[in-house]
């Protein structure tokens, strides 16, 4: 009974204090102060990174206490003129709002969700743009081929790098660029391909997509035109099969990544140009979030492509093996993006 007695006196003392308060708004404050202070303690613990030390009870109580404090705030705004209490409640509700509506997953949880369906769902979400990007890349390749076929001088305008791969080079020289590079420094190829043209093009596609919308189209066409020109050169020398193998080992991954990046850029651009019934900024944000998920995957694909180009291509010095790796990668990506549909729920749906 001692326990009850203790509780009794404490509750009585609080009751007495509430009754003693002259103002109704003070009685309101005194009755709710314990809740506010509990919420304050929980939020402070989370802010200091001590989430794990909180009891389950406290974690479960957080949303309830947040709503209690929020309703206290709206009542206090209508009934109390105590500026300090109002300022405290506003700050408390804001801090609790940060936690209740803050990021839920953490980096590891997000990664799990990203690989477990979030990425492929985002890729499927921009399929109209992907079709457009694919059409543009095919068209760009064709244009490059046809231009160089009509006038070989176009080659130097379309292909940015100057080495022995140029019109007029003998088949032997061209063959040498495809096979037997085992002595080449894999590291420099890895670094160059990761941090040079292709990764840059992919990121540019995305960046310029939200700024203007049209540049991704031009970038896609321009870059695949160079590819078309090189295809013409190697097919002309009778090395078409070998060149496609040389390209395919990393190219299936890399070109697919560029395709996704271009699609993501266009998706943002299209949403800003045709926002529908939403505000432009809201449309941009919605499209930007989906495109960002696609782009995070593109960055990873670029790393995979760089590894394949820098190391895989030197280890596998024959066309069949290169086709095998390239084809397997392509099948893997396509299956992952379009067949893998498990748990595509996002946080907003949860």
């Amino acid at each position: 009974m001692a326990l009850f007695g203790l509780f009794g006196t404490r509750a009585e003392a609080q009751q007495a204090a509430i009754e003693a308060a002259a103002l109704r708004s003070d009685r309101f404050r005194q009755a709710r102060e314990p809740d506010w202070q509990r919420l304050d303690a929980i939020v402070t613990a989370i802010e200091k990174g001590r989430l794990r030390r909180l009891s389950d009870e406290d974690v479960l109580a957080l949303p309830v206490l947040y709503r209690t404090a929020a309703s206290s705030l709206s009542v206090a705004r209508e009934t109390s003129l105590d500026a300090n209490t109002l300022a405290y409640l506003e700050a408390l509700v804001r801090r609790a709002w940060f936690q209740v509506y803050g990021p839920r997953l953490g980096l590891w949880g997000w990664l799990r969700q990203f690989f477990g369906g979030g990425w492929s769902a985002a890729v499927r979400g921009i399929w109209p743009e992907l079709l457009v990007a694919l059409a543009l890349m095919v068209a760009g390749t064709l244009v490059g081929w046809l231009l160089v076929a009509s006038d070989p001088d176009w080659y130097h305008a379309l292909v940015p790098f100057a080495d022995e791969r140029m019109p007029g080079a003998s088949a032997e020289v061209l063959r040498g660029t495809i096979y037997g590079n085992s002595g080449q420094d894999g590291m420099s190829v890895f670094a160059a391909s990761l941090f040079s043209n292709n990764a840059g093009v992919a990121i540019l596609c995305f960046a310029l997509g939200f700024a203007f919308g049209v540049p991704p189209l031009l970038l896609l066409v321009h870059n695949t035109a160079g590819l078309g020109a090189m295809l013409w050169l190697f097919f002309g020398a009778g090395l078409g099969w070998d060149f496609v193998g040389w390209l395919a080992i990393h190219g299936t991954t890399e070109l697919l990544a560029i395709l996704l990046a271009g699609g993501a850029g266009m998706h943002v651009g299209r949403s800003m140009a045709f926002p529908g019934s939403r505000a432009v900024l809201a449309a941009a944000a919605e499209a930007g979030q989906r495109a960002a998920v696609v782009m995070a995957g593109v960055v990873l694909m670029m790393v995979v492509a760089a590894i394949l180009e820098g190391f895989g291509r030197q280890l596998i010095d024959h066309a069949a093996g290169r086709y095998g790796v390239g084809g397997t990668m392509l099948a893997f990506w396509l299956a992952y993006f379009f067949l893998f549909r498990r748990s595509a729920t996002t946080e907003s749906a949860a």
Partner: protein
Amino acid sequence: MSSATLPPRKDRRRTLVTPEGLALPVTLASRGSRFGAIAVDLVVLILVIVVTTLVLALGAAGLDRVLGGQIDQAKGGAKQALEFLAVLWFAVMFLFRHGYFLYFELGPRGATPGKRALGLRVAARDGGQLRSEMILARNLVRDIELFLPLTMLLGQLDQTEWDPVGWAAAGWFLLFALFPVFNRDRLRAGDLIAGTWVIEAPRASLAAALSTGVSAAQGTSAATGAEYRFGEAELAVYGEYELQTLERVLREDRPEALAAVQEAICRKIGWHPGAGDERAFLEAYYTQLRARLETGMRLGKRKADKHAASS
């Protein structure tokens, strides 16, 4: 406390509406503190990169000793070990640069160490859930805004004359760096695309109620026993603005300010101020004025300040 009582500049105040429909006032982060936050984060990033590079360089130096100072002509196993170190370096840098911001902003504290040091947080512009995709989007764009042009600029540093690439990179960098200057909500391009903004996250402490002390509640001075009762006419002269001023003076509790305010009130209501009991007088006046104004509030009558007509 100080940040909660000092009103921020008007053009940084915004109101967001929580999913419960509650309007919450927030203060946008100033451009200066945004810059400070990214500076702190960059310093941390660079420190970690330098340390990792040093550790890997020590590994390479060890290899060099094994090879007898002929690291440039390394062959076979040694060459592979070197390549492995280099790939490791690239991979660590790459993951670290992207992971740093994501890890901290996706965590429960919702801010990088730099932002936390400056008291800032990322929040959703619409007042709703801050989703992982938003964090991802704003940090991917950071790569385009900051790291890409900076890498290009660093590549130009050793040249005496900049080529067009350098100028383009500088222009690009400036375009994005000045982006927050040219919009009302101080959004950088990443915030725009992600639907987020960066706001201040001040804390406030709950001070004791002023109106519950003995002299306040009963209007009786504990020191002198004098009783302060104010009539309707004596309370009607002031409004909410004066009440809050009075609250601030009472909380600051400076004797000369208390005396001055007491004198001003007495002059207004025609009392003769005594000396030495200012606090009890003011607490009593505060409580009774607040009681009157709050009663009015409940009946839908508010009086903003002394100039407003008491409706």
